[in-house]
């Protein structure tokens, strides 16, 4: 560590000590607010907005010291869109006033966020969104239908991509907004999934009026802003390495160990194939983490979600076959909105069905293979007919 770095480390420690000395860790919301005000929420954010303008690597030290003191931290499962996607986007593209308005309550969890990107006609092809936003004086009037919105029923705010100019090619006519989920004309309907649950919602926007203050980035710049948001999502999905034999494979291994009567000898080789692939994947994550730490980020990160989806689906399918009669049962078909999604929780049937979404949500496996082929391997791009003609003239 250089002497500059030693100074930074010491300074951060002093800040943490001061925070802990002045604020009660038992009062979660107040403590988180104070932590934000102390610039310790995300040290790489600008000063005055929860940060200190430091490189992001310093965050780890802050987290470690606060965790040791038993300080509260914002549960990433409670406001994932806010913390993972909205916050970095606002930090990068928001005005001073927007940062001031949105970041602090986002951080403390007072305001939860959701995402209004996908539409029935715009899934993989996000730039095809048809939701229209039309300027009306100092406001925008928004009309359209969004889908796959998790947490919409609890969210106060949303990040929204809408079409503001249909006369230009589709990537050029989009604008990025913050949407007030309590505004008149916002209707949230739970969307039931094949598991029986409704993890997601459809959101119908009918003449929703948003002040121009809620526009993030310039008019027509929506694609650029959304791309930045999605890159943050992809990093989050890449995921950290875990211990050996965790997650889906642990469930199957346990069933094999606990139920000798289920062991069909013919299934053993496939069980071990899956175990081996999971372990090879785990080692790849370990290696990626080491590359990142060494300042050589490997492109394999973009492939981890692809591998995860494939393995989760194969393992959960295998588990049903292995479990026999238990594989034929299901625990609960009741339609409800789950507080928390544990893809390896519940029974084998749930795991099997939920895993089917892994290769669709957050970028389909087909799109990820395109991305790897084109951006990592340098193969020629797909033929595109939709990039140069006005959006309104595209066949739909």
């Amino acid at each position: 560590m250089s002497s500059d770095e030693q100074d930074i480390a010491a300074g951060l420690s002093a800040r943490v000590r001061a925070l802990l000395a002045e604020h009660d860790v038992a009062d979660e919301r107040a403590f988180l607010g104070a932590r934000f005000d102390a610039g310790l929420a995300w040290v790489h954010f600008p000063e005055g907005h929860g940060g200190l303008g430091l490189p992001q690597v310093w965050q780890r030290q802050v987290e470690a010291e606060l965790a040791e003191a038993g300080a509260p931290y914002p549960d990433p499962g409670r406001n994932p869109i806010g913390l993972g996607m909205a916050a970095p986007t606002i930090a990068a593209f928001g005005t001073e006033e927007q940062k001031r308005r949105f970041l602090r309550p986002l951080w403390t969890g007072e305001e939860l966020w959701c995402q209004l990107f996908s539409e029935p006609g715009a899934g993989s092809d996000l730039a095809a969104v048809a939701t229209r936003a039309v300027r009306d004086g100092d406001s925008w009037i928004v009309n359209g239908q969004k889908v796959w919105t998790s947490g919409a029923e609890k969210a106060r705010l949303a990040i929204l991509v809408a079409r503001t100019d249909p006369d230009v090619p589709k990537h050029a006519g989009l604008t990025y907004f913050v949407c007030d989920m309590t505004a008149p004309g916002v209707e949230v309907r739970p969307l039931r999934q094949i598991t029986g649950e409704a993890e997601f919602n459809e959101v119908f926007l009918t003449d929703v009026r948003l002040p121009d203050f809620y526009r993030l980035g310039e008019e027509g710049q929506g694609w650029r802003v959304a791309t930045a948001t999605l890159n943050n999502e992809r990093v989050a999905i890449g995921g950290a390495p875990s211990a050996r034999e965790t997650g889906m494979i642990a469930k199957v291994a346990r069933a094999w160990r606990d139920h000798p009567e289920l062991r069909e000898p013919a299934m053993h080789d496939e069980l071990m194939r899956l175990w081996v692939e999971v372990e090879a994947n785990r080692l790849t994550r370990v290696r990626l983490r080491q590359q990142l730490a060494a300042g050589q980020p490997g492109p394999e990160g973009s492939a981890m979600k692809l591998a995860f989806a494939r393995l989760a689906q194969r393992i959960s399918g295998f588990e049903i076959e292995l479990r026999g009669e238990d594989g034929l049962r299901y625990d609960d078909w009741t339609m409800r909105q789950p507080d928390y999604v544990d893809m390896t929780g519940r029974g084998p049937g749930y795991r099997y069905l939920r895993a089917k979404g892994n290769s669709i949500e957050g970028g389909t496996s087909e799109i990820l293979r395109n991305v790897i082929a084109e951006r990592v391997l340098g193969l020629p791009p797909e033929h595109r007919v939709d990039k140069s003609i006005p959006w309104k003239d595209l066949p739909r």
Partner: protein, 371 residues
Amino acid sequence: MTLLYSETEEFLRDSVRRLFADRCPPGAVAAAYDGAADFSGLWKSLAGDLGVAGLIVPESLGGAGASAREAAVVLEEIGRAVAPVPFLSSAVLATTALLEAGDTALLPALASGERTAALAVPLTSGPPTSGPPTSGPARHAAAVRHGDGGLTGRVTSVAGAAEADVLVVPVAGDDGLELRTVARDAPGLTVTPVLALDMTRPLADVEFAGTPSARVGPGEDAVARALLAGAALLASEQVGLARWCLETTLAYVKERRQFGRQIGSYQAIKHRLADLWLEVGQATAAARYAADTIARGDEDAEIAAAVAQAYCSDVAVHAAEECVQLHGGIGMTWEHPAHLYLKRAKADQLALGTPYHHRARLGDLVDLPAS
């Protein structure tokens, strides 16, 4: 031996398909998962009006005197509609067991569709291996005993038990397995419906506690024949299911556009669908052969059934999984029928023996033992 469909078979198919189109569209089928559905009327129409319940029953017993080939065609349509009817459980499994055991009392009522039966074995039971086996049981292990006080024992995951009027029960007797019938409303009988991955083929756990029963005949061959016929014909249900998934997916990828192009114009999608189409075609041939060997009482029936189950089970699951994936987000919704097919395909994979089981069994049948 023909693997094609006869005109009679095609005619039968048309009637069944029309009935299902009218009476059990996907939205109605999905209600089965919320416990809100009663499909007994549909079954009455299919069994009685179309007369399919007695397809494999001889005319002398009030049946149609047709064969497993026609029953297979009905199952193709059942798979295509994921129809929640107890055809496999009553008109194939229970009926075959009763025929083999020499029943004459119950079969006329089953054939006419007046009554419905279920064979009291777990749905996961595969056909036992004939001859000296190195894998899998040579006999069906009965979980129910017969004593002075009636039947005692418990059988789990019985398909069609809750809808049945009569249970056909393999019972361990002094001289080996025998087949007995039990009325659904007999004292000491408890039938508990199960929450299942596939609610379109309802399962129930059945408990006997001093339950009166009537002897039909010896059970060893009856159960073996029933499970064999069931396995052979389930393959046709899987083919019908897979074909619906393929056709529905093809229609969708021709229509759905992303990035300004139909997604069916992307080569990776095209190649996957070409492979799937090939699989469905091969599954059709395997399933037809299995049905045909049962119909003709051919000695190749055991091999044919093992091949058909080992092959068609995985093809149906593959087709249903591709259907969900290539529909993207919409395929993950409750509203789209794809999930009904996925659940049925996955449950069918376990029904009457997993592909692993059938491959192991086939090894014995064709002199390729595991070790």
